[in-house]
C-alpha cells in the first residue's frame, strides 16, 4: 500500500528505482518481528537446530550407525551403569542416542522446510486463483478442498507413502499433497477480502491487468499471514514425518530419524526408556518452537492483531 509512486516523489536525489517506502516498510516490519519474544525464542531454537543439523558429522560424538552389543542399553549419564562418552545412553543395539538424535534433526528439518514450502506453493496458487477469479475456478477448488478435508490426514499420509514407496521424497510429497488445503483456505479468504480493498480498486482503475494485480499487489499483502502459516506447517511436517517413521514408512532404517527412534524406544520402553524420551523431547521442543515462531510472526505482522 505504501509502495505507491507518490511515496517516491519527494526526495528527488534518490534514483527512482529505489522507492523510499519499500525498504523502510520492510525495516519496520523486521523490527516489529524481532521485538516479538515468541519470534526470537522460537526462531532462535530453530536456527540452533539448523546449525546442529548442518554440522552434525563434526559434532556428533559417535557414528550414529555404529552398533556395539557390548554397550547395548546403557543409561544416560548420571544414572547407575552409565558409561562416559555416552551422554544420553545407547539403544538396544548399542548405538549412541545423542549422535542419532543429532543426525535425526537433518531429516526432520529437511522435511519441515521442503514439505511446508511445497504445500504453501500449491495451496497459495490455488487459493489466489480461487479467491481472485471466483466463478468456476472457485467452485472447482472449493469442492476439491471439501473432498480433501473428508480424509483423515494421518491415514491419507500413510496411504500416500505406501503408494509412492517409502523414502524421504515420498514423505515430503505426501505432506504437501495433504496439507495444501490449510494454505488454500486461508489464502482464498484473504484474497477475497483484499479484492474489496481500495488499493485493488485503484490498481484496476489505472488499468493494470488482473493477473498483474493478483501477483504484484495482492500477494505481497497476504505474504505476512502466509509466512506465519508456513512456520506452523513446518511444525506439522516434523510431526507427520515422525508419525510415518514411527509406523515404519519414512526413510530407510539406515538413516536415523526421531520417529524411528521413538518407534524403537516405544518397543523397548521397559529396558531403555531414554531411547523414547530423548527424541520425544526433541520433537516436543521443535514443534513448540515452530509454533511459537508462527504465532509470533502472526502477531508482529498482522496489523489487526498488533493494534
Amino acid at each position: 500500500m505504501a509502495r505507491t509512486p507518490s511515496a517516491t516523489a519527494e526526495p528527488l536525489q534518490l534514483p527512482p528505482v529505489a522507492p523510499v517506502a519499500g525498504p523502510s516498510l520492510a525495516m519496520r516490519r523486521l523490527r516489529a518481528v524481532l521485538a516479538e519474544p515468541k519470534v526470537t525464542l522460537g526462531g532462535g531454537f530453530i536456527l540452533l537446530l539448523l546449525a546442529i543439523a548442518i554440522v552434525a558429522p563434526w559434532i556428533a560424538p559417535k557414528n550414529p550407525l555404529d552398533q556395539d552389543l557390548m554397550l547395548a542399553s546403557l543409561p544416560p549419564a548420571g544414572l547407575a551403569g552409565a558409561e562416559p562418552g555416552y551422554l544420553l545412553g545407547t539403544d538396544t543395539l548399542g548405538r549412541d542416542v545423542l549422535s542419532r538424535l543429532i543426525f535425526g534433526s537433518r531429516v526432520a528439518l529437511t522435511v519441515a522446510f521442503v514439505a511446508a514450502s511445497l504445500a504453501a506453493l500449491i495451496g497459495t496458487t490455488l487459493g489466489l486463483l480461487a479467491g481472485w477469479y471466483r466463478g468456476w475456478v472457485d467452485i472447482a477448488v472449493s469442492r476439491l478442498v471439501d473432498v480433501w478435508m473428508a480424509f483423515p490426514p494421518v491415514l491419507l499420509s500413510i496411504l500416500l507413502v505406501a503408494v509412492l514407496g517409502a523414502g524421504i521424497g515420498s514423505v515430503i510429497l505426501a505432506i504437501a499433497i495433504i496439507d495444501w488445503t490449510r494454505f488454500c483456505r486461508v489464502v482464498r479468504a484473504e484474497t477475497m477480502a483484499q479484492a474489496e480493498s481500495e488499493y485493488v480498486t485503484a490498481a484496476r482503475a489505472i488499468g493494470f491487468p488482473r493477473f498483474h494485480i493478483l501477483v504484484r499487489e495482492i500477494l505481497p499483502n497476504i505474504a505476512p499471514a502466509l509466512l506465519a502459516l508456513v512456520s506452523l506447517e513446518m511444525g506439522i511436517a516434523v510431526i507427520v514425518e515422525a508419525i510415518l517413521s514411527f509406523v515404519g514408512l519414512s526413510v530407510s532404517s539406515g538413516t536415523p530419524t526421531w520417529g524411528g527412534m521413538i518407534a524403537e524406544g516405544r518397543q523397548f520402553i521397559h529396558q531403555s526408556w531414554w531411547v523414547l524420551a530423548a527424541p520425544l523431547a526433541a520433537l516436543f521442543a521443535t514443534v513448540l518452537a515452530f509454533n511459537q515462531l508462527g504465532e509470533g510472526l502472526r502477531r508482529a505482522l498482522d496489523p489487526v492483531l498488533r493494534r
Partner: protein
C-alpha cells in the same frame, strides 16, 4: 427455507462423498505397477491372484472398474478383506464401536475440561492466573496428540506404572458383553469390574486426544466469554451487583456457545483423524489401528471401506454442527 438449506447441504455432502470414493479409487489404481501386486498378501497362490483379478474386473478400463466397485459399494458390499479373509462391512461393524467410544469419551473430556478452564480464565481476567492459564493452554494447543500419547506412555509406563499400556479390555476380565459398545453397555448393566477396566485402558488414549481439543475449546470459549462480558447489558447487571460467576455461567455462556460449538465440531473431526495414530500407539482395537495394518498389508477392499467410513463420519459431524449452530443462533434461524 431451512428444509431447502438442509437438502442443499445433504446434496453437497453426497457429492463430497462421491469425490472421496473417486480419489481413493484412483489413488489405489493409478499407481505404477500392477494393482493386484498391491493387493495380494505374501504367499498368495496363482489361483488367488486370478480370482482377485476377475473379482475386480481389472481387465476392463478404469471406468468399468470404478463402476463395478461403486455398484457393489452402493449395495453395501465392500468386498472381502484380503488380509483378514472376512467381509469388510462385518469387520468394520466390530471395530467401529471401539473407535466411537474412544472418540466420544475424548470429546466429553475435552468439553468438560475446556469449558472449566474457559470459565476460570474468564473469571480471572487480567490477573496473574489468567497469564498462567494462557501459557499452559498455549502449550497444549501447540503440541499434538502423537506427542502427548508418547509422553503419557513414558509417564505411566515407566515412572508410575499404574495404567495398562495397550489394549481395550484385559483378557482376564470376562466381559460377557452383548453389543460391541463395551463401555456404555458395562455401565448400563452395572458391570463395574468391566467398566473400571475399560476406563483404565481408555484413560491414556482419551487424554492424548482430548487435551489438545480441550485447549482449543478453552481458548475460543474464553475469548467469546470475555467478549460477551464486555457487553453493555452485562456491565449494567454487574453494576447492579449481580455476581460475576453467575453472569458468566448464565448470560455470557449462552452467547458464547455458538462460535465455540462451530469450532469444536471441526476440531472433533481432527480428533477422529487422530485416533489413527493414537490407537496405534496404545494397540487399541479400533478402526484407526486397523487402517494402518490395512495399508501395510495392502488390503485394498479394507482400505477403501475404512476411508469411506471416516469420510462419512467427518461429513456427518460437519452437517450436525451446521444444524446445531443454527439451533443455537436465533439470528441465523430466521435468515
Amino acid at each position: 427455507m431451512i428444509a431447502l438449506a438442509v437438502l442443499k447441504r445433504l446434496a453437497m455432502a453426497l457429492a463430497t462423498l462421491a469425490g472421496v470414493a473417486v480419489v481413493v479409487f484412483l489413488l489405489l489404481r493409478v499407481v505404477p505397477g500392477d494393482p493386484i501386486s498391491m493387493m495380494i498378501s505374501p504367499g498368495a497362490s496363482e489361483a488367488d491372484i486370478a480370482a482377485l483379478r476377475a473379482h475386480y474386473g481389472l481387465d476392463g478400463g478404469l471406468l468399468t472398474q470404478f463402476g463395478i466397485w461403486a455398484a457393489s459399494a452402493l449395495r453395501g458390499d465392500f468386498g472381502v478383506s484380503i488380509s483378514l479373509h472376512r467381509d469388510v462391512v462385518q469387520v468394520l461393524g466390530e471395530r467401529l464401536p471401539a473407535t466411537l467410544e474412544l472418540a466420544i469419551a475424548a470429546l466429553e473430556f475435552a468439553v468438560v475440561l475446556g469449558g472449566f478452564v474457559a470459565v476460570v480464565g474468564a473469571m480471572a481476567r487480567r490477573t496473574a492466573l489468567e497469564s498462567v492459564i494462557d501459557a499452559v493452554n498455549g502449550l497444549f494447543l501447540a503440541v499434538p496428540d502423537f506427542v502427548w500419547a508418547l509422553a503419557l506412555v513414558l509417564t505411566f509406563g515407566v515412572l508410575l506404572p499404574v495404567l495398562p499400556l495397550t489394549g481395550r479390555l484385559d483378557p482376564s476380565v470376562s466381559s460377557g458383553m452383548i453389543t460391541p459398545f463395551y463401555w456404555a453397555e458395562s455401565l448400563l448393566r452395572l458391570r463395574f469390574d468391566v467398566f473400571a477396566d475399560l476406563t483404565q485402558h481408555l484413560t491414556m488414549p482419551v487424554l492424548s486426544l482430548g487435551l489438545p481439543l480441550a485447549a482449543v475449546i478453552a481458548r475460543v470459549l474464553k475469548g467469546a466469554l470475555n467478549e460477551a462480558m464486555a457487553q453493555d447489558y452485562i456491565l449494567l447487571a454487574r453494576l447492579k451487583g449481580m455476581s460475576k460467576l453467575r453472569l458468566v455461567l448464565q448470560e455470557a455462556l449462552r452467547n458464547a456457545i455458538g462460535p465455540t460449538l462451530a469450532l469444536t465440531g471441526v476440531q472433533f473431526t481432527f480428533l477422529i483423524g487422530g485416533t489413527v495414530i493414537v490407537e496405534r500407539i496404545f494397540a487399541y482395537p479400533g478402526i484407526g489401528n486397523m487402517a494402518i495394518d490395512a495399508v501395510i498389508n495392502r488390503d485394498l477392499p479394507l482400505i477403501q471401506g475404512l476411508v469411506l467410513v471416516f469420510a462419512v463420519i467427518f461429513i456427518a459431524i460437519n452437517i450436525a454442527v451446521d444444524l446445531l449452530v443454527v439451533l443455537f443462533n436465533p439470528k441465523l434461524r430466521h435468515g
